[in-house]
Symmetry: C2
Subunit: 219 residues, 2 copies
């Protein structure tokens, strides 16, 4: 059975590109979630126009989470906890893939560790044992995602404490045209999240738009 993936906060920078790639893969039903129904529907319609097919639906975040098998959270850190609270009821028994990076404006290129250890750990703490949370997709630049035919020279590092949940995130990475790697327990999410701040700094210092990361030495 084709699984349904909801991109919560899916009208931002990262969400539309991921939704587009998952819809285009033919492997998932895709929902774009937003705080506003109208905005969700508008972005879904724009993406469907680009796909030439009506593959993506738009819903308010709580409904998107409730209708999905897998939820992917792509919101700024300032909206992280309120968004999680708004979707919690629909997530019971499901997997949440947290893409949130705890950036600290205005110094967004400085690694900042949030009080809970990582954004992903904070999500897991809030949602409790009924939801399996994994970290993934933080290091992929939005510019790369947005063109679904463009190869992405970036690995997706997946951290979490549940093997099945990590396997789902790795499958989503592959469906989006990337390599997904098991990067260890949820405790390691601090590094994957922090890498994004470091990559933002590298973008600025080396005058590029979307630096990324590759793990070398694998067979």
């Amino acid at each position: 059975m084709t699984k349904t993936v909801a991109v919560i906060g899916g009208t931002g920078n990262e969400g539309p590109g991921l939704a587009l790639r998952w819809a285009k893969s033919g492997q998932y039903h895709v929902i774009i979630g937003s705080r506003q129904q109208e905005k969700a529907e508008r972005v879904a319609a724009e993406l469907n126009a680009r796909l030439g097919r009506d593959l993506i639906r738009g819903m308010v975040n709580p409904n998107a989470a409730a209708a999905a098998d897998l939820a992917v959270l792509t919101v700024p850190y300032s909206a992280h906890l309120p968004t999680l609270e708004s979707i919690q009821a629909g997530l019971t028994g499901k997997i949440l893939i947290d893409v949130t990076v705890p950036l600290q404006p205005p110094k967004v290129s400085y690694v900042k560790i949030p009080p809970g250890g990582s954004a992903t750990a904070e999500a897991q703490a809030l949602l409790g044992n009924e939801v399996r949370v994994v970290a993934a997709f933080q290091n992929v630049g939005a510019a790369h995602l947005d063109d679904p035919d463009r190869p992405i020279d970036c690995d997706v590092l997946v951290c979490g404490d549940d093997k099945e949940a990590k396997a789902e995130a790795i499958a989503l990475a592959v469906a989006a045209g990337m390599r997904g790697l098991d990067a260890g327990p949820l405790q390691n999410a601090v590094v994957v999240e922090g890498l994004t701040a470091m990559l933002i700094g590298i973008n600025i210092r080396y005058k590029v738009k979307g630096s990324g990361i590759r793990i070398t030495g694998l067979k």
Copy 2:
């Protein structure tokens, strides 16, 4: 004038390979430091035999630091603070490149953040403003370093608060056959150090010996 680099704790896993590469580059005078004079001299002699020339000297750590322009610290985390205390007097006005990774045996593939934020930050706090500390070389597997003719598919991420010190570390990376990248302030060292624990886990999970990291998307 040719600068002298001392590899403090240079008889361990990472030190000899780095010393060999820096000596072979012809760009540095190289000293191997150890707690024991005899051991330092023995490892220096072994490396000189491999080089076919007497390019590397062996000294006890405090003397190595005092005789060097640049010190590179490659010790296990358990020896980090005592080694720093033993070399502090010789480091005044100099640059220390800290390679130490705060691994937490037996769970060495779990990212563990030390009390001071990172090993490098702890070194900077101990040494004070008289020594400029940068983080570098944590992610390069010892197996890769040991053959000086082998190309290494790994970048050296350099974090620190002093531009000149970072430039010295980047030059050392290049002399050792790698690309060195300015990865931001000292605050970002937590990520570079934590990556090593993640890479150890990837080595175990994907059955390889020396996974590494590359930054993609640069010109």
